[in-house]
């Protein structure tokens, strides 16, 4: 996508979500300069490392940018940086690393500038001055309530959901502000937070919990269920629901799995198993029954059986099996990195383009200090 071709984005000492936002803008065609602390973005030290030496997470969130490192004592007034700000369309900063007073001053000095402020917990309140993390956002958004076992140690969602969500929402806000600027000529300050973003994508559960007619339905009972692992087969794991089959499908499936007598004598299997599997009302209670019936079937065999019964069924993948899945290449989710055999993961809407570059610390510093945006 070249939606932002010609748009200049300055990422100034941003936090991880701000840095991810700048990557989204680069993927949409913007020119992005990343200003780093003298020692570099801390993500450069995260583990593990790619064969090309870059930290895996750093490469993912910083592809397509150019890097310039500040030296000790440089400020927003330092000429090269002041000049970059003056020439930018979008400035991405993070609170509390950049004060809200500075943001307000910059907005006054540069009325066409769109300034995006990301923060861990929001810009006011008792935690507004504190550093955050993916884990902190998950802990405070009750994400742990949808994982693990009650009474046991917390489990995090393995995906960095607050960082990714904040990057999406911040990009939305920046694009909206740029649309406004096209007609008014005025920039504005847009703000997001990791905590707010993660709370936002949990929208459905807040509404579900607030005043339900009856305490059931998968947004409620799943809250207190044991961990959901899918259904073990003889060589892997699958997941299925039985929302679509008819009586013929159902009878055939039960006979094949030698479950006919069990299922026809148990009302929890009624309605052709609608509530007996997947996220159904009785799925957790009946898990062991299904797994016993699947224990002598491979995942491929089981998926075939369920498909014949018009069930919705998929393998429960790890990365190795995901990448080997015949459908995976059709999703177009990998992109090349220049000079490296190790790709990066694409955004869903990201178009194919030239291989991405990953910036070394201050790789473009000398040229940008000398020539500003024209070196970008």
């Amino acid at each position: 996508m070249n939606a932002l071709a010609g748009i200049r984005v300055l990422e100034l000492l941003a936090d991880t979500a701000g840095s991810a936002t700048a990557m989204h803008l680069a993927a949409a065609g913007a020119t992005v300069l990343k200003v780093e602390l003298p020692g570099g973005d801390p993500l450069r030290e995260w583990e593990p490392r790619r064969p090309d030496g870059f930290a895996a997470a750093f490469a993912e969130l910083n592809r397509g940018k150019r890097s310039i490192a500040q030296t000790a004592g440089e400020t927003l007034e330092t000429p090269w940086l002041a000049s970059l700000i003056a020439g930018a369309d979008v400035l991405i900063v993070s609170h509390p690393a950049t004060s809200l007073e500075s943001v307000t001053n910059l907005a006054a000095m540069h009325p066409r500038l769109v300034i995006a402020v990301t923060s861990p917990f929001g810009e006011t309140g008792p935690m507004s001055g504190r550093p955050g993390s993916e884990l902190a956002a998950q802990a405070m958004s009750d994400t742990f309530g949808s994982l693990g076992q009650i009474g046991e140690a917390p489990v995090r969602l393995g995906a960095d959901a607050s960082i990714v969500s904040t990057a999406i929402f911040t990009t939305q806000a920046i694009a909206a502000a740029l649309i406004v600027r096209e007609s008014t000529g005025a920039g504005q300050i847009v703000s997001t937070s990791n905590l707010g973003s993660l709370l936002a994508v949990r929208n459905v559960i807040w509404t579900a919990l607030s005043n339900p007619d009856e305490w059931w339905g998968f947004h409620l009972d799943s809250w207190t269920r044991p961990p959901e692992h899918g259904y073990a087969t003889s060589d892997g794991t699958i997941f299925f629901n039985l929302w679509r089959g008819d009586s013929e499908d159902w009878d055939r499936l039960l006979v094949e799995l030698d479950l006919y007598e069990t299922a026809t004598s148990d009302p929890r299997f009624s309605e052709y198993g609608r509530q007996a599997a997947g996220t159904g009302r009785y799925a957790a209670d009946l898990k062991s029954t299904w797994e016993a019936a699947l224990s002598n079937r491979t995942s491929e065999e089981a998926i075939g059986l369920f498909k014949e019964a018009h069930a919705n069924v998929v393998p429960v993948h790890d990365y190795e099996s995901l990448f080997a899945d015949p459908h995976f290449p059709h999703l177009g989710m990998l992109r090349e990195v220049a000079g490296s055999a190790t790709p990066v993961v694409a955004l869903p809407w990201e178009e194919e383009g030239v291989p991405w570059m990953i910036p070394s610390l201050d790789e473009h510093g000398a040229a940008i200090r000398a020539d500003g945006w024209s070196a970008a």
């Binding site: 997470a57 902190a136 489990v155 459905v204 807040w206 339900p212 339905g217 998968f218 794991t237 999703l331």
Partner: protein
């Protein structure tokens, strides 16, 4: 808001059902677009699936705020003619039917763009528009299973587990779609031409894991469930205080590590093997044991204060009932209580603010309730 909403004047033809489509158009509506939801002849599953409030599915209530709705059966000539008139002047068209269904209805990108070249068209699907699984039915938990994220989530050494909130991938897909629409609308201000956007649930599930898949791509080794810990830095996990309450500690930079060492005054942390992130990650088990013992000597509140003063990322573990009164969430208005047609309910507050102001929320409409007024205005 005192300023005009960013998408004021933008018209969205919303032919979506369930969650991922409707939440994407909700976001556009919240930004000021006039979203006209086309109510299908057969009730949207979101209306019927439990849990329900006053008989209405919470999925419908949560995903259809800030919209109008009309009932149209696009297979009937009269209704189709009305839809075609709407589409001629629309700015955005969003559908989430099975791949191929829109084309059968003459609502594919090529056909629509012939009559309205400025139209931004969006197709949201489960498995994408191409490939052997393209036409299979998909839901959030099926996408979770397929996209690999159960393999990185769960108790250490255990089987990977699903997120038992079965709308996270749906609403993330919606968010990616709305993001792409906004970028395309900006591009259109310069080119005058709309474009086609495709977003799929499993793509979004994969993109959510980009930093974890990056670990796999970097090393060839499958990341494993690590409980609350992270592969990238250490310590970065939940600990329990003397009062048995959990809290999180995340050290993500050398400065934060120095701050932690200084704040805890525990000589064992000065072990040179722990002096770099790589060293701490390599000795994560030992480090976690050491810190667990240390944190077990005082209540969680003590450590949250200590770490906060030192500048080390730390947070309490909150449950739903604690969110409402949490001063950080309340002060920043991160949750909202909205008067809806089905009572006053908790809902999301919007994730962005513009010059310090959040756009207003309005209740999801009663399904099809806008038909009469819309036809009168036609």
């Amino acid at each position: 808001m005192t300023q005009p909403l960013p998408l004021k004047g933008i018209k969205v033809f919303d032919l979506t059902t369930a969650a991922a489509g409707p939440w994407s158009t909700f976001l556009l509506g919240a930004l000021g677009a006039d979203v006209l939801r086309i109510e299908p002849p057969r009730a949207d599953i979101a209306v019927t699936v439990p849990p329900r409030v006053t008989g209405m599915g919470v999925l419908y209530i949560a995903c259809n705020m800030n919209k109008r709705t009309v009932a149209l059966d696009l297979t009937q000539p009269d209704d189709r003619a009305k839809a075609d008139r709407l589409l001629k002047s629309a700015d955005v068209f969003v559908e989430n039917m099975r791949p191929g269904a829109a084309k059968k209805l003459g609502l594919d990108r090529d056909t629509l763009a012939t009559k309205n070249p400025g139209l931004v068209t969006v197709s949201i699907s489960g498995y994408g528009q191409r490939g052997p699984m393209a036409t299979e039915a998909c839901t959030d938990p099926l996408a979770q299973a397929y996209c690999g994220w159960t393999s990185i989530t769960g108790a250490p050494g255990g089987r990977g587990e699903f997120l038992r909130y079965y709308a996270q991938v749906d609403l993330t897909t919606a968010s990616f779609a709305a993001e792409a629409v906004l970028l395309a609308l900006f591009e259109r201000t310069r080119t005058g031409v709309g474009k086609h956007i495709e977003v799929a649930l499993v793509q979004s599930g994969i993109a959510l894991q980009s930093t974890r898949i990056a670990e796999y791509l970097a090393t060839g080794e499958q990341p494993r469930p690590m409980g609350s810990a992270a592969a990238s830095t250490a310590p970065n996990q939940a600990f329990r205080g003397e009062d048995r309450r959990w809290f999180t500690v995340s050290v993500e930079s050398e400065a934060q590590w120095s701050a932690l060492v200084s704040a805890l005054s525990n000589p064992a942390l000065e072990d040179t093997r722990l002096g770099t992130n790589a060293g701490r990650v390599a000795h994560r088990g030992e480090l976690a044991s050491l810190l667990s013992a240390h944190f077990g000597t005082r209540p969680a509140r003590h450590w949250l204060l200590t770490l906060s003063r030192a500048g080390v990322p730390a947070a309490p573990v909150l449950g739903y009932d604690q969110l409402d009164g949490n001063p950080q969430i309340a002060t920043n208005q991160l949750l909202a209580r909205l008067a809806t047609h089905w009572g006053t309910l908790d809902t999301v507050s919007l994730p962005w603010s513009f010059n310090g102001e959040r756009p207003p929320l309005t209740s999801a409409p009663l399904p099809g309730s806008g038909t009469a007024s819309w036809e009168a205005s036609e």
